[in-house]
Each structure stands twice: as C-alpha cells, then as structure tokens.
Symmetry: C2
Subunit: 218 residues, 2 copies
Amino acid sequence: MKGRYFTEQERQILEEIIRHRRTELGENFLSQEIPETVLNRLIWAALSAPSVGFSQPWEFVIIRDASIKEKIKACFEIENEKAKKIFNDKPLYNQFKLEGIQTTPINIAIFYKPSSSPVLGQTSMKKAGPYSVCLAVQNLWLMARAENIGVCWLSILDEQKVKRILNAPDENELIAYLCIGYVKEFTERPQLEIANWETRKSQESLIYYDSYHQDSNS
Amino acid sequence: MKGRYFTEQERQILEEIIRHRRTELGENFLSQEIPETVLNRLIWAALSAPSVGFSQPWEFVIIRDASIKEKIKACFEIENEKAKKIFNDKPLYNQFKLEGIQTTPINIAIFYKPSSSPVLGQTSMKKAGPYSVCLAVQNLWLMARAENIGVCWLSILDEQKVKRILNAPDENELIAYLCIGYVKEFTERPQLEIANWETRKSQESLIYYDSYHQDSNS
C-alpha cells in the first residue's frame, strides 16, 4: 500500500478519542478562553472532512459576541418551553441544562451552502450536501476532544430565527449550532445514559446482513 | 479536569488520521477480505458517535452478497447515466469510476430509523435525527483510515430503489451507502482535487465572525 500507514498503536489512540468523546450539558462548561491556535485546529479538522464531489459546501460563523449569544439564548428558551410541554410526563427533562450558549467562550453555527452548479455525486441524492457538513461537524468534535475541549450540539432552536439573528443568506441551511469550551469533567459514559434518560442499544439490534429480512427485529 | 486527558502527541495522531483520510474512487480498491474483528471495530466506532438525545437512530446493513451488489450496481448505472447528461459539458466526469460496489469486499448501507416517541433535542429540528447518523458515518470512516482501509460514499443512487432492494422498512431513510476495502494507495490529496475537478476553498472564504455581514463575501 502506498501512502501513510497507521500502526495498531495509532489506531488505538483514535479508539480512545472516540470512546471518551462526550456531548456536554451546559453546567459542565468552564469559561476559560480557547486559544486562537486551538480554535484554528478545530476549524482545520472540519475543513478536512470528506464532502460530496469535494464541494466543501460549508460555512462557519464563530460567535463570541454577547448580544448575539443573548438572542440565541432567547430563541432556545422559546423552543425549550415547547419541548417541556412535549415531555411533561417526564419531569427529568426539566433537570437538564441543554445548552452552553453563554457558559462557553465560543459558539459555532455551521451552515450548508448549496452550490449554484451541479455537484458530482449530488445529482441523485440532494441531501448528500447537508450530510457532508455533518461529517465536518464530527471531525471538529473529535479534534475538540483530543484538545480536551467539550462540545454541546444545540438543536433546540428555530432554524429560521437563528438565520435571521446571524443574517445568513436565504439559501443557506443551518446544520449545527455548537457550544464549545473546556469542561470540568469528561464523564465515562454519556450524561443522558448516566441519568437513565436513554439506554445504550445492543449492537445486534442494529445490524442486518445483506438485507432486512422479513423475520428481522425491525 | 476529570476524565481522560489527551496529550499533544495523541492529538497529532488524530490530526494525521484526518489529514490522510481519503474518498476512494473505485479503481483503487483491492479485493482482499476485511477480517471480522476489523469490521467490528468499524461498527463500534459508528455506534460510539454522538446522537441527538442519545437516541442512536441508526441501522446498518452489511452487504457481501453478490446478487444484492449486482442490483445496487444496476441502480447506480441508471443514476449515473442521468448524471452524465447533467455533466455533458465536462468530459472528465466519464473518466471517474465513482463506485466500488463489486470491487470492495463489503458494502454498508446506513439508515436513519425515526423514533416512535419524542426525542430530546429533536423537538424543534427534526433533521437532527438523520444528521446524527452522519456523525456515525464519519466515526466509521476515520476508524477505517486508521485501519488503512479505504471508503467510498456512494450517493449516485435512487434511495427508494435501494430501500426496495434491501427490503428496508418504509419509515427508514437511507443516509449513506459505503463501499469499504483495502486500497492500493492513499493519495496525498483528494482524488477530485488531483484531477482538477474541484479546487480547495480557502479558509478565509468560509469563516464569518459573529454574523454574516452585509459586506461579506457571501
């Protein structure tokens, strides 16, 4: 094989990073600043993700401004009130602090920008565009973990309102809104698993071979 | 900070893996089998991705059966003929072998399975569900690279036809169809960049601060 060969020891380090990556809830964040060189490495990781037809259909808005954060927080509060009604049979919901907008030094809004011309690989499945942007998010997330920095993907937001707050072009789609900061602790297991909100699914229940069979557990 | 601390040396290994990860075009694949233990590590990486509300809304169909692959290949051929018409002003398109369905030992179709009950974090942005599945794809892709295994994300497919071929439940959405195998070479740069199909965008053109400004390059 030509090209960079990775050893088993190197593979195990990736495994460790993947294993210890967490979704942070808001109260775990520290206000400590993220150095510019570190932020640049997170962005570099995102920009190094695969994308359909090498179209790189992503744009990033790095948010530190308190007044912008305040508007996003207000947007979250409205959406979270709606969510509380949906989960009114589960009082545990109210105990989670599901955002870190103002408790993290940096928020990053990540957008999909559609191409004005046809994109190789996107002619049959349009959604390969926005999906490419998600791959960039995961690269950034893993790099953050390797920097010992926590990430919260905040999706309890009204996309159209966020676009207006950030003055985003009409054609752009909001893919992810991330709150990023150092944390007090990386827990051994996901925080929603520890809280017994959800349990981990077994691998066997999620894997099929060759096709979904009629007698499968689907 | 409590929890696993990653060193700068460990971070650099992740950087290397991200830097050398490629999207493979079909002619680069080798037929060599992927050991079961290696495949299990790829699946483990996918299942360790973050997901909205820890919902783990993913299902995987691991395909080795030649007759299934033949049907998927036929589906690709039809969609690729349509694509060739779209790119008829770019003869370069015809030179790419954009799939590795039969030249790889393993294909994996990855689906989003919607939850039958409300999911924490998904009440305002429904698409956080399918986006979670993309994060699993990227975890798998990086682990494959660390195993010195190549991945081709094949999106030149008709989703409904693929679902019928695989007998997928109606409510499932096809997120990604991956062709996975050892390769002759990991190139230094993306193959579509080397071929001058697309150029790499500059970081400055993709980053905004606090909001999109009226005088920005958007």
